[in-house]
Point group: C3
Chain length 480, copies 3
């Protein structure tokens, strides 16, 4: 039993009594539909519904969890068939797969191994360990399967029992794929999310050009503060018409601001300059969180703030391979002072809902749970990125529950580009939450009937409610 | 068994062997008298010994743990019968109780639920879950009970087996209730604590007026630095005569200072001005911790420092409902640099004893345990406020014991305004400590006989010793 | 069973199933040779091979873990026979031992107790608890044993099954003892480590005089930047010839810098001045980490950075007893920004290897694991100092494994001056790691065969590889 890739009791507590409780809780939630309110899958997959190309291009080359670990052990991205800055790949996919297989042992104890083995065993029916000896066996099985109809994106979406899947797009995205999906007659619910970082962060690549495009897309004069805000309103409405119920904001800090209109106008003039100072850029991002919150009060979109990643820490890698290549490092975040300007002006607004994500676990108990356990507009997103893992989820519940309870959290986000791993990730979350609840029952801190209710809330009901996915919207974005 | 409100094994580890050890340890300490050396109960209760009014006014409206959670889920303080800034309540107590009952499920997994269920089941004999259906049942049982003699404050104090209870008062408090208690012939030991924040913190409401009152109460010229210090000495002596063995200092940071007398005089002149700068206010608070430490060396009072709360974070709530309404948020604290000025001048004084409290758990292992595990004047207070909970207590022991040991900690504080919850809180602490000790025994990290001794130390002996409650004092405060 | 000093199952998880797995894993590693790549034993012991003097001088007076705790409870260092600043001891060793025995209960729950009891029971065969009643019994047994040949340093080294032991020396050390050992014909491998803090940190005592000595030892002009760097190169080569495979850098922060040569020259001129500013001193230390990294790329020495101790926090103690007397306090560290200058210039160099140590556990998951899980030059040292303990080791694995895996860690360091405790410390580490692995197996997060491999890696293979101890070197330091 112990040697199978995918053990039926994986992630459950070892104590037999507690494990039995966890099994009972999990039995109730394991087959619930998947609600995926935040992620980074490519809508083109569901628009075109073309076959995935090969195991390396699907599973290895886009997964920064995998190649950051391999890179840390001296393996070059080139060997792994990761495209360089110009999109060029220098390695044969099967050769790259062999490098991966040879070093697969490096992932022992990581969530990547849990997710991959769920995909290998659960989706492709493999029950051998991945290593040099089995590399071709794996490659061939997966490669063959990917050509079958059952492994096309829409078929997998249905097989995965996904009720709704949100992707994430820039305001500059025309959302053609979403339109294609909506018009295709396929019943899968794939919605977009408004992520304005490229036109909110003055330090983003090509910011000035993006501002100009933003203006031309919306017919607004984005060289003025009011025109710029109007352009946001226009695009938000369009995103709403493509199903969006949420916005998303990836900021290095949690700083917000509450400037006067004339201060905003002055600041906007400064940040449009390509020589923007770091302080002005930070202040502008800070102010824009407050502006986005105001628009959320108007249009009902839930706000997500993902704060605290120091992006592209490895300058050489950025120069040669570009963004999002596993070189982002978390940093300390101060939510108490950072959020204060926004909360002082809008924190008691009944219509506002902000979901906070964070990479600094020291804030869970000290800042986030007390804030979410008081302000009606704040909820806690699930453990993010490095902490989307069994230990990360356990710490999240242990550190937040006693102050914020369960009902100020919003269930799980898979937050992934790795489409095939979505069921695995939700399964890890469900098992982890059931294990936490089981321990609370075993220690008589909650009753069994409460745990049963909570397991369903965490797995299914809370994400729908928090992301307002239970409020059906018409094609123009207005509630029906 | 599992469905009873108050399970005999609650909070004990699930592993059967470890649980048996925990049971044995707990059996030894469960009935020990309660020593409550720090809290916020109202001395008037014990002076007047009047019946408590009704369930809402007793259990709900004063408990910021409860209404901060309810407020976070969109329930207004008005609905909960919380008095506004002018002391006015707008809701019928039974109606407020219904709102509470309807949303009681929000407290699943929180210490509030543990405390309340101990009160409901243990004190009022209720064994149904609180919800909308049982709201009136609860209200009627509790309301009726409160009119009985057995539920008067002094009767409960005796029934709770409280050996000593410390309240906390401002230097401006005349301590009339304590005098009444002392003269009443009742044997209950209710003592005061000197908490000078309103006249030490230049940013406190009405600071200037308080300074003037401080002068008139003491006959000192509190417009001079020396007169101001003398006024403290005078009031400290009076507090000593009302049983005080400790002072308490609630500061936003742990900053201390060690200025010369002339620097102090200059600073004192500045902070008496209503336009005091934030830096001057901080420096004055910092200096006053050192001054209070000097006076403690002279008069033997133990110092408590509660550092790190960002008070009244929600400005709207402060304006409409006033202080202490569940909108205080912890913030990062730096004890290493902050305490250094005080420790450099007084840290090796054999008579000085300072108990540190903190809301930034990242300092437990990094700063607090190493400081308390070296300086003879420092001890660690129990987990405070948000961390007065099973997980919070477990983390405290796990993070401090290996460096500071058990004997640099001081047992439990209930630190509560909720008088009825005092036995529940001490019970949670005793169960949590016994569980931690049981795990150490089960893992052969301490022996069973050591655990038995330690359980009694943590539950009873250490608080008496740390707060010098075993040194009986005469009515003028001098040791007898 | 439970009352024996040294239980066979100590530190294993209480759950019977998990414990059985831990036992199996431990059985495989318990007798593996000890690799001790970083520590502070005195090479004179192995050079002279003289008998140790007495229990107090061997076990108590040099162990700052012990006397920091005793000092925190009001016991003076004088009573404990700790030498004062002038090296004078004022207390009879047996009297000091009595004080220690009387207060030995203070160490309940600390790693010191685990280590001492391993030494008492495992090495001296004592099976009574240490207290006042047994103080003389202990003293006599240990004192008698120390006079026997089997308790001489080399005999113990062999009996402890130490494969290699690294000491740590200043560049100003002539390494006479290492030369004596090498020429003695004894087979024990005792190597040195290059720890240049006294000539890298401008705030170190006697820095100017040290610089001058550094010049005269190496024949370089250490009043110039280039001469100073050359002197390092010369001494590094000499240390290599005495077996060194690593350098070590104890810095208050993790700050690095990457200045131009002319900036370095200017800075070097400033820091040679005795009135060096704190900022210049910090910048110089920062730059020197980068210089040391460059030299490591040239000569192959592994770099260790021990960051984050606020040294000599107790000024009175420093004045009367000197450095390293248990008054060092950890402080917050920022690795993300601090290491960036070094990593930007050298972070992708394949020959560079830097092992990071840290006293701020909040950085484990937030900064260290993500950095080591990406940069090929970074590895994570084991839990250091205050965290060299069962709870500390558990937290380290729980907080780093999911992001950095096991293979970006380097096994255990005992890092001790307490030679007799070396087997105890390695045993605690092996038991702790086996317990962590056992839990992962019991929860089906890794397979049993993986855990068996990992147990051996953590206990033996990884330290040899990480410290390049498997690369035999000739007497002139070049690989053979």
């Amino acid at each position: 039993m112990n040697d199978r890739l995918l053990h039926e009791d994986r992630l459950f507590p070892a104590d037999p009594g507690t494990r039995n409780i966890a099994r009972d809780l999990y039995a109730q939630v394991r087959h619930l539909p998947i609600v995926s309110p935040h992620g980074h899958t490519d809508p083109r997959w569901f628009a075109d519904n073309a076959a995935f190309s090969n195991p390396t291009e699907l599973l290895l080359a886009p997964d920064h969890y995998l190649y950051r670990m391999l890179y840390s052990q001296g393996i070059s991205l080139q060997q792994l068939a990761v495209p360089d800055r110009n999109g060029v790949t220098h390695t044969d996919p099967r050769a790259a797969w062999h490098v991966f297989a040879e070093h697969y042992y490096l992932f022992r104890g990581t969530p990547s191994a849990l997710w991959l083995e769920h995909v290998f065993a659960g989706l492709f029916g493999i029950d051998r360990v991945l290593n040099t000896a089995s590399a071709d066996y794996y490659y061939d099985i997966i490669d063959t399967a990917l050509q079958q109809a059952a492994f096309r994106p829409r078929a997998l979406f249905d097989a995965f029992n996904i009720e709704v899947l949100a992707t994430t797009e820039s305001p500059l995205d025309a959302l053609d794929h979403h339109r294609t999906i909506n018009n295709s007659g396929w019943q899968g619910r794939v919605i977009t999310t408004y992520r304005p970082d490229p036109i909110v962060d003055p330090e983003y690549e090509d910011f000035e050009a993006s501002l100009a495009t933003f203006g031309s897309m919306t017919g607004e004069n984005t060289s003025t503060w009011q025109g710029y805000l109007n352009a946001h309103r226009t695009r938000r409405a369009y995103f709403r018409s493509m199903g969006a119920t949420a916005t998303d904001h990836g900021h290095p800090t949690a700083q917000t601001a509450d400037l006067s209109v004339s201060e905003c106008e002055t600041l906007f003039a400064k940040i449009r300059n390509s020589n923007v100072s770091a302080d002005d850029a930070e202040l502008f991002r800070a102010q824009m969180l407050t502006e986005m919150a105001r628009m959320s009060i108007d249009d009902g979109m839930v706000m997500q703030i993902h704060a605290g990643a120091h992006r592209n820490h490895n300058r050489w890698l950025l120069a040669h391979y570009g963004r999002d290549k596993g070189a982002d490092i978390p940093q300390r975040v101060n939510f108490v002072d950072g959020l204060k300007p926004l909360l002082t002006t809008l924190g008691n607004e009944p219509e506002l809902s902000i979901i906070l994500f964070n990479l600094d676990e020291s804030t869970y108990a000290r800042e986030l749970a007390p804030l979410a356990g008081h302000y009606p507009c704040l909820k806690l997103g699930p453990p993010w990125w490095f902490f989307d893992s069994p230990e990360g989820m356990r710490r999240f519940r242990e550190l937040t529950t006693e102050t914020a309870g369960f009902y100020n959290t919003v269930g799980f986000n898979d937050d992934t580009r790795a489409f095939l791993s979505i069921p695995a990730r939700h399964d890890v979350a469900r098992r982890s939450d059931c294990s936490f609840l089981a321990r609370m029952v075993a220690e008589h801190r909650i009753r069994r009937d409460e745990a049963l209710e909570l397991a369903t809330e965490l797995a299914y009901k809370l994400p729908k409610k928090a992301y307002r996915l239970d409020q059906h919207t018409s094609s123009d974005g207005s509630p029906v």
